[in-house]
Symmetry: C2
Subunit: 491 residues, 2 copies
C-alpha cells in the first residue's frame, strides 16, 4: 500500500483517460477486452432498469487477475477512477458510474471460470465473473448446494454478489453472502494482488480483510476470485403456504418451527393478501394456493439433506404435525402443503414475481429495511400508519424475509396517480420510513447496499463516529480515491 496519503478532492472525478492510456489499456487486455464505441458502452453504463445513466471513457474487460492487476496499476499511477462491475443487476446503482465519471468501467464478465470443486471439503473456487446460477448448477452436479439464491441469479455474477454482501431467500438458514465465503483474491487500489484465496474454515491470523472487502461495493478493491462454501444438497424439501393470524403470529410460528423441523427451516417469507392478488393479476400461470380472506400469509419451507426413508418421518410429516399444532394455537388459520414440485414452484413463483408484478401494476415506492426480528410486527404497524398519514390512498404491499428481520416495505401509488405525482410524496414517505427504522435501531438497507441511491441517507442516519471510521479506512486503503468513487461514502 502507498505510504503517504495524497490530498483528496471529491469534486474531481479522477484524471481523464488519454489516448496514450487507451493504448496501454489495449496492450494489457487486447482489442477483445476494450469497448470504446458509445453504443456498445450503453449496457454497461446504464443501470439495468434505466434509472441511472453514467459515463465511462472505456469499458475494460480483463481476462484474468494479472490483467486486472495491470489495469488497476495503470489507473493508480495515472489517478484514473475505476467502476468495477459484475452482472449489473444491483438495485442501488453501485455498479453504475456517475455521469461525471471520466475514468473506466472494469467488467469482470470474461472471468467466468469455475476453477475447482472440492465436494469432500465442501468448497468451490470460482472467478468473480461466474454467473450465480452456473455456480448453483455446478454445486448440484457434485451433489452439493450453494445456497445464495435471488431473483437475478440467471445474470448476476458472484463477484458482485460478494461485493454487495447479497442476501436472498436462504439467508435465514445459511446467512448472507459473507457467510458463504472461505477466501478471496482481491486486486487492491494500487494494483497489488491480495491472495487471501484460502479454503480454510478457521484462520485467526490478524485482521479480517475478507469481510472488509465483502460489502464494500468495490470501493476498497476488486474481488477477482473466491473460495465458496458448499453445503449438502437438499434431499427432502417440504413447502407450505399458511394463512396466518397476523405478523406477530409469523414470528411465533418461526420461533417454534426451528425445533419442530429438527432445525431445518430453510425459508420463511411473509406476504400480504393484497401482494398475492397483485401477482395473480399480472403473472400468467400463477394460482392462489389457498382460498382465504385473511390479510397475512407465510411461505414456509423446510429442507433436509437426509433422503426421506420408508417408514421414517420426513419433512412433510413433521410439517403436518406442526401445522396442526399451530392451527390449534390459533396462529395458523388455514394451510396447505405442496404435494408436487409444480405446487411448490407455484408458491415460490408468487413470492419471486412480486417485483415483476409491482412493475406491471404501476408506480411504486419500496424500502429494503431491517429491524430486530421480534420488533417486525411493531414496525409494520407503525410504518403503515406513518406512510398512510402522509398519503392515505397509497396501497401497502409489505413483504418480508421475516426470519432475517428484513422487510421489503413496498407501496403502490394510489389508483390513478401517475409517477410524477407519486414522486412528490416520495421524500416525505422515505423520511418517515427511515426515521422509524432509525428510532427502532434498524437498518435503512438490509440487503441491497448503499451504492449511489442511499449515499445521502447513510450519511444522515449513521453516526459521525461510524462514518469517520469508514472514511478513515477508505482513505487509508484507497488514498487516491480511484476505486468506485462516490459510492457508499462521500469523502
Amino acid at each position: 500500500m502507498p505510504g503517504a496519503a495524497l490530498p483528496i478532492d471529491p469534486s474531481v472525478p479522477g484524471a481523464p483517460v488519454t489516448a496514450a492510456i487507451l493504448d496501454n489499456l489495449r496492450r494489457i487486455v487486447g482489442d477483445k477486452g476494450l469497448i470504446l464505441e458509445e453504443h456498445d458502452k450503453q449496457p454497461f453504463v446504464t443501470e439495468w432498469r434505466g434509472t441511472l445513466v453514467g459515463k465511462a471513457a472505456a469499458i475494460v474487460r480483463p481476462a484474468n487477475t494479472a490483467e486486472v492487476s495491470a489495469v488497476v496499476k495503470l489507473c493508480y499511477d495515472n489517478g484514473i477512477a475505476i467502476v468495477p462491475q459484475g452482472g449489473n443487476t444491483g438495485l442501488m446503482g453501485g455498479a453504475t458510474p456517475w455521469p461525471t465519471h471520466r475514468g473506466i468501467l472494469l467488467s469482470l464478465g470474461r472471468m467466468n471460470h469455475v476453477l475447482n470443486v472440492d465436494p469432500v471439503g465442501y468448497s468451490m473456487t470460482v472467478e468473480a465473473g461466474c454467473i450465480l446460477e452456473t455456480i448453483q448448477e455446478t454445486a448440484a452436479h457434485h451433489d452439493r448446494f450453494f445456497p445464495l439464491s435471488l431473483g437475478s441469479q440467471g445474470s448476476c455474477m458472484i463477484g458482485g454478489n460478494l461485493s454487495t454482501n447479497a442476501g436472498g431467500v436462504q439467508v435465514l438458514r445459511y446467512g448472507n453472502a459473507r457467510n458463504l465465503v472461505l477466501g478471496l483474491e482481491v486486486v487492491l487500489p494500487n494494483g497489488e494482488v491480495w491472495d487471501g484465496l484460502r479454503a480454510l474454515k478457521k484462520d485467526n491470523t490478524g485482521y479480517d480483510l475478507k469481510n472488509l472487502f465483502m460489502g464494500a461495493e468495490g470501493t476498497l478493491g476488486i474481488i477477482t476470485k473466491a473460495v465458496l462454501k458448499l453445503w449438502p444438497a437438499p434431499k427432502d424439501v417440504c413447502t407450505a403456504w399458511l394463512a396466518i393470524r397476523d405478523p406477530q403470529a409469523a414470528i411465533e410460528i418461526l420461533s417454534e418451527a426451528y425445533g419442530a423441523s429438527d432445525d431445518n427451516v430453510g425459508s420463511c417469507e411473509l406476504m400480504s393478501r393484497a401482494g398475492i392478488d397483485m401477482v395473480l393479476r399480472h403473472i400468467p400461470g400463477t394460482q392462489d394456493p389457498l382460498k382465504a380472506e385473511t390479510p397475512w400469509y407465510l411461505l414456509l419451507e423446510w429442507s433436509s439433506s437426509r433422503p426421506r426413508l420408508d417408514g421414517s418421518a420426513g419433512m412433510s410429516e413433521k410439517m403436518e404435525q406442526f401445522l396442526a399444532d399451530q392451527l390449534e394455537a390459533g396462529r395458523v388459520l388455514d394451510a396447505v402443503i405442496a404435494q408436487t414440485q409444480a405446487q411448490s414452484r407455484n408458491m415460490w413463483r408468487i413470492r419471486e414475481s412480486k417485483a415483476e408484478a409491482n412493475r406491471a401494476e404501476g408506480p411504486s415506492l419500496s424500502y429494503d429495511v431491517s429491524v430486530a426480528i421480534s420488533r417486525i410486527p411493531e414496525f409494520i404497524d407503525k410504518g403503515l400508519k406513518a406512510v398512510l398519514d402522509i398519503l392515505p390512498t397509497i396501497r401497502p404491499y409489505p413483504l418480508g424475509h421475516i426470519g432475517d428481520g428484513n422487510l421489503h416495505f413496498s407501496f403502490m401509488g394510489p389508483i390513478g396517480m401517475d409517477r410524477a405525482t407519486l414522486a412528490q410524496y416520495s421524500a416525505a414517505i422515505t423520511r418517515a420510513v427511515n426515521d422509524l427504522v432509525a428510532s427502532m435501531g434498524g437498518s435503512i438497507s438490509a440487503e441491497h447496499g448503499i451504492g449511489i441511491e442511499k449515499i445521502d441517507e447513510l450519511s444522515h442516519y449513521r453516526s459521525k463516529t461510524e462514518l469517520d471510521v469508514m472514511r478513515t479506512i477508505k482513505r487509508a486503503l484507497d488514498p487516491k480515491n480511484i476505486m468506485n468513487p462516490g459510492k457508499i461514502l462521500r469523502l
Copy 2:
C-alpha cells in the same frame, strides 16, 4: 477519528503514566477501579500459565462504557499505551503487556452484566466482561443456546472471546465467534464510542466494522458490549465414540454424516489412541469408552432442538443406522453410542482433558493449525514425517476439530527428555510444521490468534501485501499506536 497521522516509533512503548494522570484515572474510575500495588497487579500482568510476565503502571477497571471511553480519551491525549484484558485465558499472550510496557492495563472484569435477553428474537445483549459460562447458562434459562464452548468457559470473558474470534468444539455447526455476533459497541483508540450495537441479522450499510474489531485482539479498539445470536436449545443429543480406519475415513464419515443426521452434526473430533491413553493415565475418573487397538478415534455428536417423540426416529436411531452403514463401508471399525448422560460426559471429558493431561505428562510442543478439510489426512502424514525426521523419539498426539480443518498438532517430548533439551528442537520443529502449513495453503493459527507468541511467524508467513494492508488499517485507526501495541503486527 484523528485526521493527521503522527510519526510512529514502535521502539517507544508509549508515554509514561505520571502522578497527574493517575489522579485523572482515579477521578474517572474511583479507587475501586484502580490497582496500583505491584502484588495486586501480578494476576493481570502475568500470562495465566506463567509463560509471560509483563508490566503495567496501573490496572484500570472501569465500571461502564462511559468510564472506558474517558480512560481511553485520557490515554489518547497523553500518548499512553493500553492493554485491554478480559479473563486472561488467551494462549498467545495477546492480553499480557510486554515487559517494556509503560502504560495501563484496562480490565473489563467489572462490566459483567447481561443487559437484555430476547428469546423470540434469538438474541442477547451483554457487557464485555461477562463470563462465557454465565452467558451459556442465561441462554439455557430462556430455553435458548449460545454455542461458543471452550475449555476456559468458566473464567474467560466474552469480550476476549470476541476480540480473539474464539473457536471451540461447536464451530463445525455454528461457526467461530464472528458468526455468533449481531452487533458490537467499541471504544475507539481516540476514546469515541462506536455504537454498532444492532440486533440485526441483515444490515448492508457500508463497511463491515464489526468483523474488523473481532479478531483484532484489542489492537483497533476495545469491545465493550455485544449483541449475541442465540439458537434453539438442543433437546435430542446423541454422542458416539468411533474407532475408525484412519484420518481419511474421518473426513468421509463426516461428509456423509451431514445428510444422515438431517444436517444435525454438532461436533466431530479426531483423537489418537496415544492421546486417549494419556488422558486415561492422568485424569482420574475417565474411562475408555471402547476397548480397541486401532490408532484413530472420532467423537461424533449430533443434536437437534426437536424433542424426541415417541415412535419417531430420534438422533440415536439415526446414529445407529449410520454407524451400521459406516461399519459396512469399512470406515468405522467399532463404535459405541452413549446411553446415559454420564457416558456422554465421559467421552467429552476425555476430549477436553487433553490439555490438562499434556501438562501432567511433561514438556510438549503444540501447533494450532488449519488446512482445507479434505487435505487433513495429507497434512497429518507429511507433518508427522517432518517432525519425526527432526526428533525421531518425539511422541505425536494429534487432535483435531476435523470438521473445521483445524488440528491441534501436539507432541510430547521423548520419554526422559527435559524441557530445556526439548526446547532446543523447538525452533526447527516449529519451522517444519509451519512451512508445511504454508505450502498447503493453511493457517499457522487456526483459532488461538497471534498475540505476542506468533507475531514473528505471521510476519514470516503472510505476504508483504497482506501485512501492508493490515498495517495500513492499524495506522489509520490507531495513529498513536496506543491500542495493545506490539500485538499481531510490528509497525
